[in-house]
């Protein structure tokens, strides 16, 4: 018993390490979340399919125009595989998804993966710009507001955030267009310059749309962060400890309260991604950006079920994965979760 071979010992160590890794709370959390996400994603595809199939008027009719004969329509439907029962098509589509084949667009015949590959980077760049810009403004404003609750900065931030939460993004986008493209023509109102044509032009074409998405976002983040900071400064004992050490107010705010608020802010950013996707549909439409939102709207209007389904699934996956990453980052960053609760 006591003389085990070295190889066996190593093996046991490996399996022990694996077992410990599997028992680690963050990994188990991720596993649980993944297991819960799969039925949700499946439900999303089913719902999309149902919604798309109660659409009156077929895609073939749409493609051929109003003066097509019933024969022509039927022929095209057969070509596009639209004449089979809905559940058969759903099953085939689902099989395709599992094997990584999202099918071809009904309208253009292009593979959906190619379309997504072209359109997605634009939207991702837009959303990332919006998030980064809004966070860059949120953090200093919320800190200044929380430094003196009910002070002048705080009141201003409250008014600003309430305004931002009440203004529809398309309204704000159009106001931006009126101000910066019509009254003072300094920025392009529509169009997109790809990154390959130069960074400066690319960023210039993204400034207005990113602000249009980012401003309400900034207001939302600021409202949350300010509230969380004020609550901590009022209620948390470790804030009192820090003050009792003689630490200055800014340092207490940043090193103690903000450090703890960061986790909450991260969650908010992750959870809010779903709403952001809705915003990109409109904003891309207004600024004529060739992103995924524009493609989605086009596909909905063309009754291009294959594309709509693929994009909706993609967006749902993005939302679910964003939530998952939020949890994961949380687990990596928050020591309480990182090491598990060892003591009482």
């Amino acid at each position: 018993m006591s003389t085990s071979t070295p190889a066996l010992g190593a093996d046991r160590r490996v399996s022990h390490g694996l077992a410990r890794a599997l028992r680690s709370p963050s990994l188990r959390l991720i596993g649980r979340r993944l297991a819960a996400a799969i039925p949700v994603l499946w439900g999303v595809t089913l719902l999309t399919f149902l919604v798309l199939n109660i659409m009156p008027g077929s895609a073939a009719q749409q493609l051929l125009g109003a003066d097509a004969t019933p024969e022509q329509v039927r022929q095209l439907e057969a070509e596009l595989n639209l004449d089979q029962p809905a559940w058969v098509r759903y099953w085939e589509w689902l099989q395709g998804v599992v094997t990584g084949d999202l099918g071809n667009s009904i309208a253009s015949g292009q593979p959906v993966t190619t379309i997504i590959g072209q359109r997605l980077p634009v939207s991702v760049e837009l959303v990332l710009c919006a998030i980064i810009v809004s966070l860059a403004f949120t953090v200093p404003l919320a800190l200044m507001a929380a430094r003196r609750p009910n002070g002048i900065v705080d009141r201003l931030s409250m008014v600003l955030s309430m305004t931002g939460l009440s203004i529809a993004n398309y309204v704000f986008a159009l106001v931006l267009v009126v101000v910066f493209a019509v009254i003072f023509p300094v920025l392009p109102a529509i169009g997109f310059v790809p990154l390959s044509d130069g960074l400066l032009g690319n960023l210039r074409s993204l400034i207005l749309p990113a602000i249009a998405i980012g401003f309400p976002l900034f207001c939302f983040y600021t409202r949350f962060l300010r509230g969380d900071l004020v609550e901590q400064m009022r209620g948390e004992d470790y804030v009192v400890t820090a003050k009792a050490k003689g630490v200055g107010p800014w340092r207490v705010l940043i090193r103690h309260a903000f450090r703890n608020s960061l986790f909450g802010l991260l969650t908010i950013v992750g959870l809010n991604l779903g709403t952001l996707i809705g915003a990109t549909v409109i904003i891309e439409q207004i600024f004529a950006l060739p992103g995924i939102g524009q493609e989605l709207l086009q596909a909905i209007n063309n009754r291009d079920a294959v594309v709509v389904q693929a994009i909706v699934l993609l967006l749902a996956v993005v939302v679910v994965v964003a939530n998952l990453i939020t949890d994961l980052l949380y687990a990596v960053l928050d020591p309480r979760i990182r090491y598990g609760q060892r003591s009482a």
Binding site: R234, V240, A242, R259
Partner: protein
Amino acid sequence: MSTYGAPHSAAASVSGDGSRPSPSTTMPLLEVRDLWVRFRQGDRQVWAVNGLSYELFGGQTLAIIGESGSGKTVSSRALMGLLPETATVTGSARFDGEELLGLSDQEMRQHRGADLAMVFQDPTRSLNPTMRVGNQITEAIRTHLPLDRRAARERAIELLRLVRLPSPRQRFFEYPHQLSGGMRQRVMIAIALAADPKLLIADEATSSLDVTTQAQIMELLLDLQGQLGMALIMISHDLGLAASFADEVIVMYAGRAVERASTHQLFAHVRMPYTEALLEAIPRIERPSHSPLPVTPGRPPDLTTLPVGCPFEPRCSRARDTCRETSPPFEEQEPGHWWACWYPCDDGGSG
């Protein structure tokens, strides 16, 4: 190595071992005069502390005893300038000859942690969960002492050793949740000692711990006090604890002091019925087992109005008409023994 390198050796020069300065000859370290604290709560006023006065000499231990809401915690936080903005503080508190009340927050910060330090009730909530305990100590060190990162770390480890935390070098890098409750409170004490304070306020520092740990932490505090020559204010609801550790005791009720004496004198001759009631509530070995503990009937008074008579009158067994009509003054009625009562207990009343 800087002069701040080793906390215990540096502090040992401040006071000789055990020889305490005599109260009559030196100036008190802390002199509180007529301290009033009231809170704005919506449209009402809460009268939390009403005219508290005491003095404390270097190296002494003072216990402030009272129920929750008696003003014991509020009065000590007022000294540290840690009350929320809704509080109004009046009166005087001279620390080492300097007036603390009315200092700006920036001036007060020079004293907080450096001259006066505080250990709080709940170490779990009082430590920042997202910071390594070592950094929480070095933060306190580097706020007040001109040490670089390395020297501050060495001093922090030295402090952890001083509060008898096992394997301090390793604990330095751990997070609060990795420590037990007693260990966390030791870390809190290490933070409080970071800049060699002259006065340590322990606000119910042992109440949230189990009995064994409680005794250990209390022993540690008293050892450190002797070793470092600090003055110690012990805030507690436990008169028994005061009896075993304090030089002097102040009993507070409804925001005012109701009895004050040296520990010895107080327990020999209890005068105030409230103190007596507290004393009766301490479990004792000589009582027959399973006999019920006497409980003071009634609830602590409503602090939103100042009563005309004695605030303890509604719960007092000795109360008469005078008590209802006029509030008894808090005066030194015997040498070294202050109390506020019209009909004090006689000598036979104490245990």
